[in-house]
Structures are given as structure tokens and as C-alpha cells.
Amino acid sequence: MSSRNFDFVLAIGGEAGQGIATPGDILARIFIRRGLHLYTYNAYQSIIRGGHILLFMRVSDQQVDNHGDKLDLLLCLNQDTMDRHLSLMGAGSTVVYNADTITPGDVPDGVQLCPLPVSELTESRNRLIQNTIAVGTVMALMGQDFEALEESLSLRFNRMGQEVVDENVAAARAGYDYANENLMIKTDQVPAGPKPLAVWAGNEAVAMGGAAAGVKFYAAYPMSPSTGVLHWMAQHARDLGIMVRQIEDEIGVANMVIGAAHAGARSMCATSGGGFALMTEAVGAAGMMEIPVVFIDVQRAGPSTGVPTKTEQGDLWQALGASQGDFQKFIVAPTSALDAYKTMPELFNLTDKYQCPGMVLIDLLIGEGRATFDPDEVDMQPEINRGALLTEAAQQNGYKRYENTESGISPRAIAGLEGYVHVVATDEHDEDSTLLSDEFTDPTKRRMMVEKRDRKMSTVLDDVSAPSLEGPADADVTLIGWGSTWGVIKEAVELLQEQGVRANHLPFKWIVPFHADEVTEIVNSAKKTIMIENNFSGQFYRYMRSETGLSVDGHIRKYDGEPFAPHHIVEGVLEHLARETDIFVPTEILKV
């Protein structure tokens, strides 16, 4: 059962260029300062002006991990919003709109229409002022004090001067007072949390995670939806002493981080699927030269240029197949922004220990979605462990970079360290890095080196957590997901429980290495299994099957570019339980 006292979803709709982000930020700031939890998802199009945007903001006294099912309040900044989204309105919800420019639609019973006579409420000719009036109205409708709004407005606008602050405060006041006098106000007070919270987008979380892990070199080529990582890094570069460079292409990016890593700097880069495709030859180079680097793929809907501003879990096989040949690697799919943050230092320690590349798969949903976190619960100075890295100069000769040790891990000297002169090569090489082709291609040595690199990973399963069930062990149905679907499946399990269906959840985060034995045991003891993925072909299902031979009883898949809402999963599970559906695809359409 949900223990939420307060759970409110508001959405702001309009077109690009109408300034939706500003009321969004103003409201977010008020909520987090009040100690409320927040989760936002911005549905938008790849367009700078025009098009349609719908920003979902879910606010609660408890942690929220998805954008929810129904809207409690819709703020329409244009006619399109009114025309497209009324089907999302929940019982007792409210639609706020500018009565001068927007014609109301037919709303279901119990939905309150709140027209704002904007031209009567302001004399300002600033086109964006209607947004601020509306924010005032929203605050009144939610029963909030005006003071918090005033403070948030000053914070937002004070860089533009007192006049702008005053204009906005006056407009907000007009909207606030108008609502109090003319509209039906929600009576239950919005609660307050114990302390203010902070908010981040997943892209910021991975960037911060990298910084906390000691990243000193970051390179990128802009590509939605990964660009937020670059922006955060660029903004913080000087304060944090991180070299941040925008490079001519993703091939250059990937190779440059390898160069920086070999010289000793912890290095990473982020991109989306298309850019990652260009990086893949370098991923294998890092594997062959045994240089630790981290590649982040913020997935968007593919294939090819695909749907640039839409989400998908579609790059799993690209990551699995990135680069030719067999080489050692990590692939991890964090389950939320917070998890993405925590994953970065862990992954850097692992790639240093095992001297190989690491790949992080998040997606637009995590990367651009925003969520609150409690700064006291986030370790900003995590343990840093660089494994078998040599840093002390020595007077010696005969260092073998790829020494065939028992563990397979060869002590790694960075370039420039006196006493450890050596070459690293993408060609197959001997222990002392002599190219095999420089002698004659020696099958015995080739086999030795392949086995040495593989042997490094013999202990790796002990170093990452195995997947485990969330919820009752003896549930009637087990929902399996990976990466970003964690938050929405978690809530679907609660909703199913309310409807009398005992479900549990098996979320996957580590893809490579894969705990095949543990997974087999869990899946074999489940009564019924349903695999949930935000892609067309069941990429994770096929991977799990290839690693374990396991199959599942049903699938829920979504590949229209929008993320799952909890009710999509609930419906899918009920459908599977009622009859033998093979693949359930939610067809409700978000018109963005």
C-alpha cells in the first residue's frame, strides 16, 4: 500500500520558446525548499521553436521515481495543450489556462476548468508574463503561502534586475489573488518535509559521480540527450580542476580520453547511440591496451538518428557488441539518477582494478529527468582505489607492462614514470608489449595473452552486487526489468498489490558481468515471470536468455518513444494473468 500522504502531479504544456522551463524551475524550487520530493519528466520534440512540450512534475512527501498516471493540475500555455491532454486529467483535477487566447475543451465530470483573464490581471506586454500569473494561480490552488513564491521569483529573476523581479511578483500576486477569490481551492494543506532537498537531472548526477570519482579529463561531442553531462562538466571545470573539451567528433573524443587515461588521469566521455557507434573501435582499443576509461551512453530512440528527444532502452546490443574481438569490459545500467551517481565511483574503481573499459547505459528518461535527493545521503567523497597502479619512479629496467601474472592483472605504469618505459599497443602483443606480428605470429603467445586478459576477470562477480528480488519472495508474478524501468515497475508492484495481485520485482543493473547462477535460481523459483522493456525486440530478454537459457512467461514492451507510466505495467500484468498474451504493448498515446 502506498504510504503517501501527498502525491500531486502537475503538468505544464506549451510550445518550445514559450518559456516552460521557467515556471517549472520556480515551482520545483518552492517544493524542494519545502522538503518535498520531486520527479520531473519533460516530453518534448527536437525543435527549438514551436512544436509541443509537456513538462510533468510529480510532488510528494515520499520519494517519487516516475511521473505517475494521472494529472492533478494541467497548466495550458497554448491551445494545443488543452486539445491534447485532457484525457490525462484525474478525478478532482484542475485545468488552468489563459482565457484570452485559449478555448476550453470538454472536461470529464469533476474536473475544474480555471480560466484566467490574463489581460485584466496585468498591463505588462511581456509575452512570458502569463506564465508567472499562472504560477501564482497554481500556488493558490495548491493552498501554498505567497511568501515562498515571492522568494523563489526573486531568486530566479534578480540577475535581470529589480524591475523584472517586481513585474513578476506583481503578476504572480494577481494570479494568486484571482484564484483565491474566484476558484475552488484545494483544502488539504501541502505538507512540508523535515529539511530542504536538492534536485538533479541524471546527466548531472553521472557528471557529479565522475567528478567525485576523480575524473580529471572529460571530452564530448554534443548529442541529445547526453549533452547535459557536457554542460555540467563545462560549467564546473574551473572550480573542480577538470579538463573539459569539446572535440571534432566522437571518434576523437573516445581516443582522446584513452590518451589522457594512459597518461594517468581518470577520464570519461558521454554520448548517445550514434556517437557511441563512432566510439566503438576505441572501446576495444582500451580493452586491448588495458587502459581504464568510462564511456556513457545516454540512450535515445533509434535506430540511426531515430527520435532524438525520446527515450528507449535500445542500445544494449550495441554496447555488448561494441568493437571487434573478445575483450574485458563492464556494462552497467543504473536504475535512477541517484543510482547513476553512486555507480560512477564504483565503476571507476572497477575499471582501474581490472584495467579495462566501462560502459554506462542510461537513457533520456534518467538523463534528462530530474529527481530530488538528500545531500546528506550522498557520499561526495567516495573511496578511490586505483588498483595495481604504479606511481613511484624507480631505477630499473625490464618492466613488463603485460606481465603474465597469476591473477592476470599486470601492474600498470602510467606514461612518464621513470624506470617503467614501455609501449602499449592495439596489435596483439607479448608481455613486454612486443607486437606478435613483429616476431612471427606466435599462436602460443597469442593464446597466453588472450587467457591472461580473460583471467583478470575471474574474481569480478564478487565485486559487483548480484540482482535480487524486491518485494515478497513468494509472489504470484515476478516483474523483470533493467536500468531505468526500476522506478516505474516498483510503483506498479504497489498498485498491483492494491488490486490484490501479489507481485515482486527483479531489477537488473549490472549487465556485464552477469550473475547467471543467482539469476537462474531466482527465475526458476518464480511462479510467473514478465519481462518489461522500453524497446521493441526485448534486448535484455535475449541477453538473459543467451547467458542463462532462461525464458519468461510474457513481455511488456513500449517503443513509442515515451516512458512507461505505472498503469501501463499494471494493465499489462493483468492482461497476462487473464489470458496468455505473449507481448503486451500499451497503446495509450501521449500526444507530444
Binding site: 524542494i32 530542504p196 532537498l197 536538492a198 534536485v199 538533479w200 557529479m208 567528478a211 567525485a212 570519482a213 576523480g214 580529471k216 579529463f217 571530452a219 564546473h236 571545470a237 574551473r238 572550480d239 573542480l240 580542476g241 579538463m243 572535440i247 571534432e248 571518434i251 576523437g252 581516443n255 582522446m256 584513452i258 590518451g259 589522457a260 594512459h262 597518461a263 594517468g264 588521469a265 581518470r266 577520464s267 573501435e281 576505441a282 582499443a285 591496451m289 545531500p375 561526495m380 567523497q381 578511490i384 619512479a393 606514461a415 612518464g416 614514470l417 621513470e418 618505459v421 614501455h422 609501449v423 602499449v424 599497443a425 592495439t426 613486454d432 608489449s433 612486443t434 607486437l435 613483429d438
Partner: protein, 303 residues
């Protein structure tokens, strides 16, 4: 940047000889391959500049010429085809105390790596780039290259190439390199001096080197170059005049010029412009992670 022969405690060390820069394996280049002369010249230049192996990082791509790092005694990275400049830029920025010398071929640098060539020059990264230009793809057994002459018969142009070649010197000038020279591997003394100048130059220096492929390029062999090469310095060339430099670089008849075409001194390198490198030494040697002040600033920006 050049470092003198001093240990960390300030003692002078005896200067190393060219032989000391011989790598652990003998080159597997064909007898007479021009690349031997380039290897020999860099070994001499390193000795004459008083460098030590651990102060140098050679970075190459893939090709006959790109096998270079294995034959030279220093740190080395033998990377992917066409990617040496990107890797080298990363290494140089992470540890700007290293002398980073990039070695490779015409296909590697001007073909598949062309985008990096343009932008590394534009950024004026403090690298020394030695291109062993044999006007052919050697390692893949003789296909046309971006510097092959029009009409050249190769395995991939059996009826003659129909494309005009690229001019590395004028390209480098236009792209913003700050030390642009041409050498000939048949004149080791001259090439050594050019390479010394390139290593000592602060900024992106490129030396395009005629390094004949004796196996796959019959057109541009030693006799071809011996008859034609003339040293710019013998004509009192003005190395500050870019138009003159381009004119000389485009001359391709009975006379083909070698030597320093152009040098711009004092232009800031990418590293010089980077605030992050201004103090604190090489990035690679700095403490990892965030301090309390940095943490506080980040978090307060998110509340």
C-alpha cells in the same frame, strides 16, 4: 617543451647517445624503406637535445610507419588507424610535461585521420607530428593514398588515380599549425635538425617527410627525390611569410623544397590557454576527488 638532462635531485646525467634510443625490437621494415632514416633522425635529435626515454611519449596509428614506437626507446602508444593525434592530445593535456611525438603515415594522418589533423593544428596543441609520407598505403600492400600523384598506378587504381593529391604543407598552414616543415629521409643530418626544431617549438609542429616505400611506390623513389629536393634555407627563405611558404610548398616539378616553410613563435598553445593547467602541475599527478569546499559549492547550486 625540452627538458635538460637533469635528475630529479638536480644532478646532471651524461647525455644519451642515439643508440640509447634504440627500441627493444629491430624494425621489420623492408630493406631500404625510408622509415629507417626517420627513426635514425629522431634518435639523433633526442640525443642531441639531451632528452631521456621516460620524458618522451611516441604515439602512432596503424601502418608500416606507425610501427615506429616499438622501435624507439621511450614510452609509446601504438593506437588505432588514424587516431594518433587524438590520443596524443589527451596524453599531452593530462601530462603536459611529457614530450609527445606523434609518428605515422600519410594515409593514417591525412586520410582516415584528416579530421583530427585539421583540428589539432587549429588548436595548436604542443605536439611534434612526424608524417612518413610515402604517397602510398604500404602496410595494406600498395593502394592509392591522399598524397599519391594524379595518374599513379596502384593496386586500387590499376588504370591510374583520377584524384589530385592533398598538399600537407599548405593544409597545415591553413589549419593553423605553427611549425611547418618538410624533410627527406635520405638526408638524415638535415632531417635531424628539422626534427630538433620541431621538438623545441612550442605549439603544433608538423614535419611531412618524404620516406620512400621501396616496395610499393616506384614513382617516388630515392632517385626521384635526390634529383629534385632543394633546401629552403639555401635560398634564404623567410619563414614568417605564409604566402611565400605556400608558393614554395606547391612547387612540384624539377624542384621540390624541403626545410622549414613557416614558423609562428609565441602563439599560445591549447595548454597555455587552458585555465585548469595554469597551476598545480600535470593533471595526471593531482589529487583525485572533491574537497569540502567544492562539495559545498556543488550542492548549494542544486538546492
Amino acid at each position: 617543451m625540452t627538458t635538460t638532462t637533469k635528475t630529479s635531485d638536480g644532478n646532471s646525467l651524461p647525455q644519451l647517445t642515439a643508440k640509447d634510443f634504440k627500441g627493444p625490437v629491430d624494425p621489420d621494415w623492408c630493406p631500404g624503406c625510408g622509415d629507417f632514416g626517420v627513426l635514425n633522425s629522431l634518435q639523433r635529435a633526442s640525443s642531441e637535445l639531451g632528452l631521456r626515454p621516460h620524458q618522451i611519449l611516441t604515439v602512432s596509428g596503424i601502418g608500416c610507419s606507425s610501427n615506429f614506437p616499438g622501435y624507439f626507446n621511450s614510452f609509446g602508444m601504438h593506437t588505432l588507424h588514424g587516431r594518433s593525434l587524438a590520443v596524443a592530445t589527451g596524453a599531452k593535456l593530462a601530462n603536459h610535461e611529457l614530450n609527445v611525438i606523434v609518428t605515422g603515415g600519410d594515409g593514417d594522418g591525412y586520410g582516415i585521420g584528416g579530421n583530427h589533423f585539421t583540428h589539432t593544428a587549429r588548436r595548436n596543441v604542443d605536439l611534434t607530428y612526424l608524417v612518413m609520407n610515402n604517397q602510398i598505403y604500404g602496410l595494406t600492400t600498395g593502394q592509392v593514398s591522399p598524397t599519391s600523384r594524379e595518374g599513379m598506378l596502384t593496386k586500387s587504381t590499376p588504370f591510374g588515380s583520377i584524384e589530385p593529391p592533398l598538399n600537407p604543407i599548405t593544409s597545415a598552414i591553413m589549419n593553423g599549425a605553427t611549425y611547418i616543415a618538410r624533410g627527406y629521409s635520405g638526408d638524415i643530418r638535415h632531417l635531424t635538425d628539422i626534427i630538433k626544431g620541431a621538438i623545441e617549438h612550442r605549439g603544433f609542429s608538423i614535419v611531412d617527410i618524404f620516406s620512400p616505400c621501396t616496395t610499393f611506390n616506384r614513382d617516388n623513389d630515392h632517385p626521384f627525390f635526390k634529383q629534385r629536393v632543394k633546401k629552403l634555407e639555401d635560398e634564404g627563405h623567410d619563414t614568417t611569410d605564409w604566402q611565400l611558404a605556400c608558393e614554395k610548398a606547391m612547387e612540384w616539378g624539377d624542384t621540390i623544397y624541403t626545410g622549414l616553410f613557416m614558423q609562428i613563435e609565441g602563439r599560445k598553445t591549447l595548454g597555455d590557454r587552458e585555465r585548469v593547467l595554469r597551476e598545480g602541475g600535470p593533471l595526471a599527478h593531482r589529487p583525485l576527488g572533491l574537497n569540502d569546499k567544492q562539495v559545498e559549492k556543488i550542492i548549494s547550486g542544486m538546492m
